[in-house]
């Protein structure tokens, strides 16, 4: 999957599900938007739908270290490549 497609989709999720408009790539999402662990779990569910496969428990745990949008892009890109 193309990086641009991932970025476009993640930004749409942030807009539709979290009411966060165009967040900067390297800003701390918790500090800037109060994006907490509850939101992170919901984002993972959205990512599973987007990618079309279920994440393993380890993959989900890895996501808990993420704090910026850029890291989310990297995370989703790696997941996508892992199943190619």
């Amino acid at each position: 999957m193309e990086r641009k497609e991932i970025e476009k989709h993640i930004l749409r999720i942030f807009h539709d599900e979290f009411e966060i408009e165009n967040p900067e790539n390297d800003i701390d999402l918790r500090e800037a938007y109060g994006f907490d662990s509850i939101d992170a779990i919901e984002l993972l569910a959205e990512i599973e739908v987007f990618l079309g496969f279920e994440l393993t428990l380890d993959e989900k745990k890895q996501a808990m270290e993420i704090s910026t949008l850029g890291q989310i892009y990297d995370y989703v890109e790696n997941l996508s490549n892992s199943r190619d």
């Binding site: 979290f18 009411e19 662990s37 939101d39 919901e42 569910a45």
Partner: protein, 411 residues
Amino acid sequence: MERRVVITAESAISPIGRSKKEIINCLTTGISGVKKIRDDGLLSNYINSGVYGTIDYDIEYDFERKYRKTMGPVSFYACQVAKEVFEKSGLDKDFITSGRLGVAFGSTHGSPTVQRAIYEKFFSGSKEGFSKIGAVDYLKSMVHTTAVNITKMFGITGRIISSSTACTTSSQSIGYGYESIKFGLQDAMLCGGADEYDTTTVAVFDNLLACSVDFNETPHLTPRPFDDKRDGLVVGEGAGAVMLEEYEFAKKRGANILAEVIGFSCNNNGGDLILPNTEGIIRTIIAGLDSAKISAKDVDFVSAHATATKMGDVIEAQAIHKVYGDSPLVTALKGYMGHIMGTCGVLETIFTLHMIDEGIIAPTLNLDEIDKRCAMINHVTELQQKDINIASIQNFAFGGVNTSLFIKKIE
């Protein structure tokens, strides 16, 4: 240490409206908030009772997503009345977040809507269904969801009391809030209750043959507290909140004092979990009078619990007569809105505050022919222009829980 406690703000979401003006209009012109039950796609087609105390108007919420994400429908109601009470009270943010203010707020059983959604996924029997149970579903549906969504939204750091004792939930909220201030544990308490639209509660009473079923085509004619033709209770939805403050603090800051809370009691029948109990109610009322340091003859008005069940109303009338004789005027406010379960106590308190302020006492709606077994007390059957100095609001719940709250007009 015993301190005086006053009510300084209120907010209601009731089947007969939100503002004092709307509520007084219904109380003085006999308008009911009971409507035909609306379709829930599950139980409404099977239960016998076809009536419901309904919120049939829109409420404009402006809660940000960071708050909404942990709120089920019941917390929307709760946070809305809390927000309005804070606005009306004039209390500033520094005080609200100081730890000197706490919350006593509950609901009958959290959010049934969210609980139902969880069970639908759970009983789908699939792994996919399991994984669809939301990360926040528990926070939205748990018993204390109203209280803690209020604390989150307003940054409240004081004590939390979240009663869930069915029909005495919000009367306990006010009572325990009152005691928290009276005994110096807090300087202010936001107190109340909320219940969202829910047919499982109707089904429970329906199966106990305790729900009204004879007026499904004429909802405004039921419930009929103390009336000879009463045929059971009508479940309803809504929310209410009041701000309680320590008297000197409220006075010093120039708060608008609506009334003083002068006494509260709560006890249990110590036996059956369903059957109404004369002796239990009598003990509660007497304990409440003792708490208020007044005698029975000092009470001008009793807001009866009176749900319009066959036996409950008779037992309550007997208890009122035993303690008060036929002295205080008695109104059953559920005639106007049905039985809003955990929320009835706070709404009946707010309606009573409005009547105290207006110098009126509303009649019990649909009380056309008094049941002879309930006739020994002083029923209000027509609108009366009368000053209430001291009023009692009494509520009783499944589980044998009884409460008695006493409020006094501020001179």
